[in-house]
């Protein structure tokens, strides 16, 4: 175990529920890479989109509380979910800029806001902290011949100055990570478009329309599969894919992997520990044809 590299892991609600395979594969991947991951004790929901939509003060306070809780664990905060990542970064950014909001939040959590800790998405930990070379050297089953459409969605990079993960309109970080595992990435049009996110509960028709455009673009680019780093993007593209195919009379059959699932497979974790069985669009035919499993 690399003692110098340990993270305070904030999984977020989805990873303990509908995105269990993202959690499982993240833990397995970090284990294989020899990097420490310690879950933040008693973390709360970050409030996600619904909280900031109607009550920004609540959203900022919930995130500030989580940042305070994360201080109990050594190391930077590691976040898997794009929405949690966005909210935690937004909170740091807003409270550093706005003295009034900071005072209100400190009153709400009855503690000083901890804003200097580093909050990192798994992608930047993999690409920058661990590094592409170390990642590539851990790969035992290279993903040769697999054509991957890397899907970023909204919150990993937007808006400027907040997540600071990569270029806001034309990022390459996910492609570089996937290529380090031996896969091929395709250029395509919809990697930064919105999938409809949490309208999946209130207005699924919106999701069907927006996610169809994304799947259609990925398919036309010649991709074998889509890779995501957000539980909501995954839910919309994987869980609703069959329904979308029915509505638009299309046949996509595109497996949608979490980035950590694909990397865990490449590092030899096997199907079970990578949580492949939880995917709705069957990924096994693809991985068998390419001789990876």
């Amino acid at each position: 175990m690399d003692k110098t590299l340990n993270y305070a892991y904030y999984p977020g609600c989805s990873l303990h529920a509908s995105a269990g395979e993202y959690d499982l594969s993240t833990r397995e991947l970090f284990n294989l890479l020899g990097v420490g991951l310690t879950e933040v004790p008693d973390w709360f929901c970050c409030g996600a989109t619904p909280a900031h939509n109607v009550d920004e003060l609540l959203s900022l306070s919930l995130c500030a509380k989580n940042l305070e809780l994360a201080e109990q664990v050594d190391g930077d905060v590691a976040v898997a979910c794009a929405a949690c990542f966005s909210r935690l970064k937004f909170t740091q950014h807003t409270l550093l800029e706005d003295e009034t909001k900071r005072r209100q939040v400190e009153k709400a959590i009855d503690a000083p806001a901890r804003l200097d800790g580093k909050v990192k998405h798994l992608l930047e930990i993999l690409a920058r902290d661990i590094g592409l070379e170390r990642l590539a050297s851990a790969v035992s089953k290279p993903l040769s011949g697999v054509k991957v459409a890397c899907y970023y969605g909204c919150l990993l990079t937007r808006p400027p100055d907040v997540p600071n993960l990569d270029c806001v309109e034309a990022p390459t970080i996910m492609e570089r990570v996937v290529e380090a595992a031996g896969a091929e990435t395709v250029p395509w049009s919809h990697r930064m478009e919105c999938c409809g996110a949490n309208f999946t509960l209130s207005r699924p028709g919106v999701v069907i329309q927006l996610s169809n455009a994304i799947l259609d673009s990925a398919k036309s680019s010649g991709a074998d599969c889509v890779v995501v780093a957000c539980p909501l993007c995954h839910g919309n593209l994987d869980m609703r894919q069959k329904e979308i195919e029915g509505v638009y009379n299309a046949e996509y059959g595109l497996p949608v992997f979490y980035i950590t699932q694909l990397l865990a497979v490449a590092c030899g974790a096997g199907a079970e520990k990578s949580g492949l069985g939880a995917l709705m669009v069957d990924p096994f035919p693809l991985l068998k044809v390419k001789n990876i499993l």
């Binding site: 609600c13 929901c45 003060l57 919150l155 919105c194 709705m280």
Partner: protein, 194 residues
């Protein structure tokens, strides 16, 4: 459109509403010069009766009640594309948050009730459990919106894949979360926060 002479002044602009939105959002409403880049990139504009640039224009013209009565603000996905592309650094996604808060506090003059219902259930879950409880979210939404059969076919599949948990996760430190909610309510009662 009726042809009617329009006079713009600080009264017709309803500057106090503009200032409130600016305080909540931390961005300028008045800086927008209507280039329309926000609406050009908005993935949700197709579902709105007023596209994003018009929302700002209505606000500049003191017609905020038309915004709150409509459904557009509830169809914003918070994708941040508008804020990213604005040449004048108007953070429109935050203006949308501020407008939704005004509508929310006025107890929903908008026609769009499903999105508001989903938000309400989501926030209730945080207060009751500290974390999300997806099964309750979906079940209560279907009952309260009267769509008993919505996603019915999906449910059993999700359960068999382990994606929909029957029981909720609960935070051990619920007293702490309740304090955050009640301190914010207290601040608002005393007029210390918007």
């Amino acid at each position: 459109m009726k042809k009617k002479k329009m006079i713009i002044s600080s009264q017709t602009m309803e500057l106090d509403v503009v200032r409130k939105v600016e305080a909540l959002s931390g961005t300028s409403v008045r800086r927008c010069f209507q280039c329309g880049k926000c609406s050009a990139g908005c993935p949700m504009a197709t579902f709105m009766e007023h596209p994003p640039n018009r929302i700002v224009r209505l606000l500049q013209l003191g017609q905020w009640q038309r915004i709150l009565a409509g459904r557009s603000i509830w169809y914003c996905a918070s994708c941040e594309t508008c804020s990213t592309r604005c040449p004048n650094k108007v953070h429109l996604a935050s203006i949308m948050d501020a407008l939704r808060k005004l509508s929310w506090d006025a107890e929903g003059p908008s026609k769009e009730s499903y999105v508001q219902l989903a938000n309400r259930l989501f926030l209730e879950n945080i207060r009751s459990y500290g974390r999300q409880y997806e099964m309750r979210l979906a079940a209560v939404f279907n009952v309260k919106s009267g769509q008993f059969l919505k996603d019915l076919m999906l449910g059993p599949k999700l359960i068999s894949k382990g994606k929909l948990k029957m029981f909720h996760q609960k935070n051990r430190n619920m007293a702490e979360i309740e304090k955050i909610f009640s301190r914010i309510e207290e601040m608002r009662k005393k007029g210390e926060a918007l």
